[in-house]
């Protein structure tokens, strides 16, 4: 099979709506090792209408230190790809201003079997939440706002 046409989706910080899950999965199907995969797991974080404290949210802003965040994202992906059975890991984090139900982040784990895929997806999600240089501002419907730390 000719895999010369494979243009992998790069993990990293993207502008809002710059890429979607279909684009990513379409690209994945041309991954040189896709034949070894039996499981594709995805996590998409979307904007919920309430904060953790239960305040009603109007919109969300994501700021990112792109160079640093991209380095951390690539490090997380590299680490997780080393787990046996993992075929590919992609983390896409968006920046910009978001409305309720807009997509903020995609994590995609492709693996031989589902067991290692579930573990790896969870690990990737917990890691990006803490380790990448992005910040989130919640803008509430009362007009106030807060950067979450």
């Amino acid at each position: 099979m000719n895999n010369n046409n494979f243009t992998p989706v790069k993990s990293g910080i993207y502008k809002k709506d710059e890429i979607n899950l279909s684009n990513i999965i379409f690209s994945l199907k041309n991954h040189p090792k896709i034949k070894d995969a039996g499981s594709i797991l995805t996590f998409t974080g979307i904007v919920r209408n309430t904060s953790k404290e239960g305040k009603l949210i109007r919109s969300l802003e994501i700021d990112a230190y792109e160079e640093l965040a991209n380095n951390s994202i690539n490090k997380i992906c590299k680490e997780i790809k080393e787990i046996p059975g993992i075929v590919d890991v992609i983390i896409i984090h968006f920046k910009g201003v978001f409305d309720i139900k807009d997509e903020l982040v995609h994590v995609i784990v492709t693996s031989s079997h589902r067991e290692e895929g579930f573990k790896a997806l969870r690990l990737a999600v917990e890691k990006y939440k803490k380790e990448i240089a992005v910040w989130k501002k919640e803008v509430f419907i009362d007009g106030s706002s807060d950067w979450v730390h």
Binding site: G45, V47, I62, A64, Y65, W135, K136, W147
Partner: protein, 93 residues
């Protein structure tokens, strides 16, 4: 000596800027903090712990895209042309 300072999240809201160049007299992180605190008073509350006379424990410093892990952050030296950022704890979306 001139350094570039990057502003993210709360910093960006307070300064109204993404980044700027600042002229420093003292070539340390403490020199830079004095400068920005005098220019943007609310930044002091955000990152300075008056009790320990130092940056708050949860503030990271990045110089030229590299995280600084020195214990006494104020003493870290700066060089002309350095790109510096103070970072509050991250929160992914």
């Amino acid at each position: 000596m001139k350094v570039e300072i990057l502003y993210f999240a709360d910093f960006k809201d307070i300064t109204g800027k993404d980044r700027e160049f600042l002229e420093l007299k003292e070539n340390t992180v403490e020199g830079l903090t004095s400068k920005i605190f005098s220019k943007y008073n609310p930044l002091k509350n955000l990152i300075w712990d008056e009790k320990i006379k130092n940056l708050k424990g949860n503030i990271s410093i990045v110089i030229n895209d590299k995280l600084i892990t020195d214990k006494n952050k104020g003493d870290v030296g700066l060089t002309d042309g350095d790109k510096v950022a103070f970072l509050l704890p991250f929160a992914g979306g």
